[in-house]
Structures are given as C-alpha cells and as structure tokens.
C-alpha cells in the first residue's frame, strides 16, 4: 500500500491559451478568465489518474479539497482523504499549505498538476524530502520534475505503486520571471531540486533515463578523480553548483554546497560557497580547473546559477581548463542536445562556443554543441 498525494493547481495554465505567457498573480488569472480561458489542469490531472485505476486498491490517496484534487478522486471513484486548504479560491499559499500537510502525513509520493510556478510552491513546502511527479498542466514547463505528458505521469504513478524497481534522482525546478517574459526578456532562475522517481522513461528530464550507463554519476566521479591524479598536486579545483557536481563533492569527501561554488586544493576545502571576489583572490595565485555541469532540461553551463563566475574569472582560469560533467541522460534531455553560454561578455561567449567535451562516465565523453 502506497500513500499518494494529489494536488491540482486549478488555475495553472489558464494564461497560456489566451496569450498571457503564464498564470502567476491574481490579476493575470482574472484577466485570463475574463478573456474566456478555461480551467484545464483538472482535466489533465484526471487523465493521469484515470490510468492509475488498475492499481487503485494499492493506493491510499490524499488530495486537496474540491478542484485541488477531491473532484477528480470522486469522478474516478477513487477512495481518498481530503487534506484541507486555506482559501476557497486557490492560491499559491494553498498549494504550499496542502503539500506541507501531505509531507507530515508521510506520503510516499506527491503528484501535482501545474506548471513551473506550482513546482516552486511544492518545492517550498517539501524540498527534496518527498518524491514528486509533476503532471504538466501549466504554461511554463521547464522544470525536470514534470512527466512528458499527463499519460506518462499516470504510467509513472502506476509503475511507482506496482514495482520495487524505483530509484530516485534530483530534478531541477526552474522558473521564468513572467513579467520579464511578457516583456520579451528571458531570465530563467534555478530554484532548487526535488526528488523524482526514475522508472523507465517518462520524466521530462531525463527524457530517456532507463539505462544505468546513461546515469553514471559514479563513473563521472571516478573519471574526475583519475584526471585530478594526472594534474599538478597544487592545482586548485573550482567546483560549481548543481546536483552532478554535488555528487562529486560528496564522492571527494568535501563538505560542499549544492547551490554554491566551492574550492578545493589537495582534496581540502579552501573556500565554501565563495563569491566572485573571493574567487578572484584564489585564482590569482593558483593554476585552476573549473568543474561545472549544465542545467538540466535547459542547457546553460554559464550564466545560470553560477553568476559568481564573472567573465574576467573565466578568462583567467582559461577556456581550455573547463571540465564539463553531466549524465548522458541529462544531455539527451536538452533541447537539441545543445549547451548554452551567457556570461554577459559577448566575446567570451563567442570563445566558449563551438564543440566541447562533456564527461558522461568513466573514460566516456560526449561532444556537444555549445551555442
């Protein structure tokens, strides 16, 4: 018997069809409804849960009230318990409130229907402590926590309940600033990681994570260790943000950060969560290697989540001294399998573009296009 939580953001996605590029904020939601937008996210969540019918006897379902999940459970005749919300007309605070209660109830998995904004709300409430599956129902679906479709989400939930072959991995929560987006500026922000189940394919990112060799974090760590042995022992390693690099930090026995830049020398931590100025001081007197990863589902290696790496710092380290690491599945899940740079310095960006090697396992690299 598995405890499954269901949270629907009923207004997710209503801004999309009427050309509003998102649904964040009450004014936008009112505007969308006045323009004739229809609430679709409930239908998408229902489509997902319709596929869970074959294992409904093995599920203890907890759901938000009314449109937040209860209606779906009733429509599909699934036994359920309702977790109360704060308001009658749903807001972001309600999503967080319901998700937090589900965490306290000890659910095994939260399935939520919405977009990147909803993912952020769930992240705020449960962090990476409760596994989640996102049912794509919003306008912006950039985060790696979403299944590729409602049906894929349904299949994942079914598989999660029916099989013990479940592994978990962190997936990024990314969101655009909608106001910027409406003005034509793209400025996406990385908010953190949630834990997602990996069962065959089905998650948005990675798109094809079903073979161990495509998620070979252990192999990547081993390759980096061997590369380090071939370097001068005084070399300084600048380890950037992200779950792949964080795994490396753990493998090296370093008390590093998930979201910050840490610096090691001789396998000792000499800087934790450093700023650009602190980095400048360190690189000034040392030979450095920069180890970084790409943001999943999106592909930036510079300019997102590592703004401490100012152009002058990257130049000083040297563009030949960058080791990019990523699981192969992360690369396969990128749009057109392309990496992006946005350092804020056009000529440096140009220098970084072309084809670069990405370490995807022990003695294994992928050549990727950098744009």
């Amino acid at each position: 018997m598995k405890k499954i939580g269901l949270i629907v953001n009923p207004i997710a996605g209503i801004g999309g069809p009427v050309g509003l590029k998102g649904s964040d904020g009450e004014d936008i939601q009112k505007l969308a409804l006045s323009k004739g937008a229809v609430k679709e996210s409930g239908k998408r969540a229902e489509a997902a849960f319709a596929l869970v019918g074959t294992c409904k006897d093995d599920i203890l379902l907890y759901c938000g009230p009314g449109e937040m999940g209860e209606t779906i459970a009733k429509n599909l005749e699934l036994e359920h318990q309702v977790v109360p919300a704060i308001h009658s007309n749903t807001t972001a605070a309600d999503t967080e409130f319901v998700a937090a209660q589900m965490k306290d109830l000890g659910v095994d998995l939260i399935a939520f229907a919405g977009g990147d904004g909803t993912a952020r709300n769930v992240l705020n409430a449960v962090g990476d402590e409760v596994p989640v599956i996102g049912i794509p129902a919003g306008v912006k679906i950039h985060s790696g926590v979403f299944a590729t479709s409602p049906a894929a989400a349904g299949r994942l939930i079914e598989a999660f309940v029916k099989t013990k072959a479940v592994k978990f991995q962190p997936a990024e929560v990314i969101d655009l600033n909608e106001e910027d987006y409406r003005q034509g500026r793209i400025g996406d922000t990385f908010y953190g990681y949630m834990s997602v189940p990996v069962i065959g394919s089905g998650m948005q990112n990675p798109k094809a994570a079903s073979h161990n060799s495509e998620n070979d974090v252990g192999g990547i760590c081993q390759e980096i260790r061997e590369k380090m042995q071939r370097e001068d022992p005084d070399t300084v390693y600048i380890l950037c943000a992200g779950s792949t690099v964080y795994s490396l930090k753990q493998d090296l026995g370093i008390d590093g950060t998930l979201l910050g830049i840490d610096v090691i020398q001789g396998n000792k931590l000499i800087g934790r969560d450093v700023s650009a100025d602190e980095l400048r001081e360190i690189i000034h007197t040392n030979q450095c290697r920069l180890i970084l990863t790409a943001i999943g589902g999106q592909g930036h290696i510079f300019g997102r989540g590592n703004q401490q790496l100012a152009p002058d710092i990257i130049r000083h380290i040297g563009t030949d001294h960058i080791w990019i690491i990523a699981t192969a599945s992360k690369i396969y899940g990128l749009p057109q399998q392309t990496l992006f740079v946005d350092t804020g310095d056009a000529s440096l960006d140009e220098e970084l573009r072309g084809y670069r090697r990405v370490i995807v396992g022990w003695q294994e690299t992928l050549i990727c296009r950098v744009m």
Binding site: A151, S210, I367
Partner: protein
C-alpha cells in the same frame, strides 16, 4: 474465415495453454532417454567413463533436473512455441536494424541434417574437411568483392564480437608502432557496440551527438572530436535512422589526417551491398553480420557470425586460424599467422553453419542478385515510408526531404501528445492483429517514442500493405478507443507486460529456485 479483403486485418488469436513450468511436470523416475550401458569390451579398455573426469570437476550430488518423458517434453515445447511469434508465422517488418529477411529452408535442412556438415569436427585433419574449408574460402572471396577489402575472417560470433575483434586489432597495431592512442570516436546513432566493444578492449569513448537537422554529426563536429589521441573511428552508415552520410569519405579522410584508422560498422549492409563499397570510402576495417544481411535466421541469440574485413596492411593482425589455399588447390589452416595476430577470439574457426548459409544464399543470387536484393530492400522502404508517414500521430525526425535507405526510425511523439498512448502501447497492441511487435530503438531514445521498421528485400507489397494497415488501425484506435490499446494485448497468452518489469528483480525470475521462493512452492 479469411482475412478481411478490404481492411487487410486479421481476426487473430494466439494459442494459450497455461503451460506449467517443466519442473512442475517432473515425476521421479520418468525418463526421456535411457542411454545404453557401455559395452564391456569398452569398459575393459577405458575403464568407467566417470573416471575420465577429473575428481575436482565431478559433482557430489545429482543435478536437480526435471524428470519428464519424451512425448511430454515434446508437447511442452510445442505448446510454448505456439505462444510465441516469429517471422515464420508473422510479417516481421517491425524488427528494424535486424534485417529480418527470409532465409530459404533448404539452407536450414542442409545445415541441420546434411551429414557432410553435421558430422565433421574442426579438430579433424584439414585434408578430411576440404569441403567446408572451400566454402569458407569462397565466402571470403565473395565478401572481398562486395566490400573491396583485401582479407576476411569469420571467427567472431556476432556483430559486437566483430567490433571487439576490430578494436583488438587496432590496439595491437598501435602498440606495435609504439603510438599512444587511447581514444575511439563514434556517433550517437551508430550501433551501441561501436562504443561498448572498444571500451571493453580498454579504449576511451568519445561519442558525437547528431546534428539536429541532418541527423548525423557535421564534419566540423567530427573534426572537433579527432586528435592525436584518436586510435580509430567506429561508425555505422547508414545509421539506424536510415539516413546515409554521402560524405562519409571526408570523415574517413579527416580521421586518417590525424593518424587514426577508420572502422565501418556494416552489420546491416542490406540497402547498399553491390552499390557502394567500404574500400572506396577509405575504410581500413569493416564487419558484416552474416546473420542479418547474408541470410542466417537472426534473433534469440542464435549462432551468428560477424565477418571482419581488413586491408592488406592489417592482414597479419587478423585472428587465426586463417584458411589458406595452395597452388594445387588444397585448403589448409594456418594457426600461426605472421606473428602479429591478435590470436583467437573464438574456438576453432567460428560458426561454420552460418558461413555455409551465406554461401548458399550468395550462390543462389549471384552478384546481380545481391545488388537486386539491395534495390528491393530500398524500394520496399521507400514505399513503406510513404505509407507510414501519412498515419496520424507519426513524425519522422531529421533529414527532411531526404530518402531513408533500407530502414527508418519513426516517432509516435505526436500520438503520445494527442492521446497519452506511446510507442510501448502501440507495440503491445500489434500482436492482436497477428503481427510480431516492432522494435523501438537502440538506446538512447533521443527520438522520442521511437519505432524502427525495416521491410527487407523478402517482403511483398501485400505484406507491407498488411503491416501498414495494422499500424494505421492501431493509431486510429489510440484516438478513438484508447482503452482498447492501453489494455492490449487481448488476443495473446500474456497480457499487460510492462517494459519496466525487466528492471524489477521481483518480477524477473530466471531460475526454478527463485520461482519456488517467489511462489512459495515447497
């Protein structure tokens, strides 16, 4: 009832026997055969046969084998065979990249029943097996003609094994030259063994992503992967997308320019044999899967043969024994090579029955026939692509407007978006119409919801029409009656087996011991 003449669809139902596991059929003391005791005169001379086995290798207790009579064993396996699909009963166009062609039954009869092949042993004196050695020699000659390579070896037992052999040759070649080259370059849509086998030999793998427009890497990307560390490139062409890289010679030249060798994976050469040759493309080593293109039944991990072809300067590195022919026309085995050989990669000289089938197939077609077979395979595929691409929900990735050669990788991405049903759902429904399910794709699944079809030279227009009708019908069902597809198959002995079961140790039971554990059998 005959097949519906208008829809081309069958009302099909596969046999279902609820057959027990053979261990459950066991009755103590029941026997299939009772081997006669050895004649006393033999025992007098050689002693007890048991004593010929070293003490350390003898088991102390009898093996736990089922005890079942011949008739029941035969019935058991006949029933199981009725619960499987194969290309003798179904239109097997779906196994793309596998080149499921018809292998004439006379080849099977010769290989399985002709005493001249079944009763020889590779340790016999070569003078007593001139026939099979001549077959090897002749097939080598035909392969040289088809590929343009200078020498062939038939020892490897399959395609990945042939790539392993080629990687071993390359390692030894550069060691002998004192060059420290430890990387190989391959492409993401080449066969996975083009990365895997060289990695097993000890090479570092540099894999190239495809260009999102043309489907295979650009020359610029390819050059970015090459360096003084590159030992060789291992590339498949046409790749499994069905797209042929017409500028392959430029890629080979780029590899040669940095001192690397070039290896052509031609496991499936069905669309280009007799039309374009590895030699003119500049390759140094190649392999063909005789069990694909050259008509040995393929699948079920049955005996295969990865024929390795090499240029003159690599001849001495080929595995031994080499088959030789002297001026009197006598065939012999050369076990020593010229000293540089990588040795043996398999016992004796490989799977002789596969080489013999290739010999029969090639002799029956002749050189014009081989070329015609390739043209038929390509023509069949052009016809099929035109039909499949019109089915609602199907998309084709890469190479817009470009012809696919002998196979094509399609995508149900749009179908999945529209209906929530993807490639795994469609393939499970196929058996309900009497078709073997299709093959999705090698990993990684960069093309989402993939499926790969290959209507080889053997299939008639009617076969293709029936297969297409089934695909069209299932796509229609996905849009109109999705529940039927989601719960398929309905007319097969097993229902609802999901792909992820393979990864679940509790669902995969490979031994009787484990079976008893899981089902609580005493």
């Amino acid at each position: 009832m005959a097949r519906n003449r208008e829809t081309l669809l069958r009302e099909f139902h596969e046999a279902k026997w609820d057959e027990p596991i053979i261990y459950e059929m066991s009755t103590p003391g029941e026997r299939g055969i009772l081997p006669p005791k050895a004649d006393p005169s033999i025992i007098d001379e050689f002693g007890d046969a048991k004593d010929l086995i070293p003490q350390s290798m003898r088991r102390e207790t009898s093996p736990n084998l089922p005890e079942v009579g011949q008739m029941r064993v035969n019935r058991h396996y006949m029933r199981l065979s009725q619960e499987t699909m194969g290309d003798d009963v179904a239109v097997d166009i779906g196994e793309g990249t596998c080149t499921m062609k018809y292998s004439p039954k006379i080849q099977e009869h010769t290989v399985a029943y002709n005493a001249k092949i079944t009763e020889i042993h590779p340790m016999q004196d070569p003078s007593t097996m001139q026939g099979i050695l001549e077959v090897y020699y002749e097939v080598e000659r035909y392969m040289k003609s088809i590929s343009g390579m200078d020498h062939f070896c038939f020892q490897p037992g399959g395609g990945a094994h042939a790539v392993f052999t080629n990687a071993s040759i390359i390692r030894k070649y550069f060691r002998d030259r004192g060059e420290d080259r430890d990387e190989i370059v391959t492409t993401i849509f080449s066969h996975p063994c083009d990365a895997g086998s060289p990695a097993t030999v000890g090479f570092k793998v540099v894999d190239l992503m495809n260009d999102p427009v043309q489907g295979y890497p650009t020359l610029e990307a390819f050059k970015a992967a090459l360096s003084e560390k590159t030992a060789a490139i291992f590339v498949t062409n046409p790749e499994d997308t069905g797209l042929f890289n017409p500028k392959i010679k430029e890629y080979v030249d780029a590899a040669h320019a940095v001192g690397a060798l070039a290896v052509y994976d031609q496991a499936n050469v069905n669309g280009i044999m007799g039309i374009t040759r590895a030699r003119e493309c500049g390759f140094d080593l190649i392999h063909y899967n005789l069990h694909k293109t050259f008509s040995s039944p393929h699948g079920g991990m049955g005996p295969g043969c990865g024929a390795v072809g090499a240029r003159d300067f690599l001849k001495d590195y080929l595995p031994v024994p080499r088959i030789t022919k002297d001026e009197n026309g006598t065939f012999d085995l050369d076990w020593n090579g010229e000293g540089a050989t990588i040795g043996q990669v398999r016992s004796y000289f490989g799977n002789a029955q596969v080489v013999l089938r290739a010999y029969m197939w090639l002799r029956s077609l002749g050189s014009d026939g081989v070329r015609e077979a390739a043209m038929c395979a390509v023509l069949n595929n052009q016809y099929m692509v035109k039909q499949i691409e019109q089915i609602k929900g199907v998309t084709m990735y890469y190479g817009e407007g470009k012809r696919r050669i002998e196979q094509c990788r399609y995508s149900w991405e749009q179908l999945e978006k529209d209906t929530g049903l993807g490639t795994e759902d469609v393939l499970r429904r196929m058996v309900d119409y009497g078709c073997e399910h299709y093959w999705e794709s090698h990993h990684p699944h960069i093309v989402p919801e993939p499926f790969t079809l290959e209507p080889t030279d053997s299939f008639s227009k009617e076969d293709i029409d029936e297969f297409v009708a089934v695909m069209r019908k299932i796509a229609q069902e996905c849009y109109e009656t999705p529940e039927v597809v989601r719960t398929a198959p309905h007319n097969a002995p097993c229902h609802g087996i999901k792909n992820y079961y393979e990864e679940d140790p509790e669902k995969v039971i490979c031994t009787w011991k484990k079976y008893k554990e899981v089902y609580g059998i005493e």
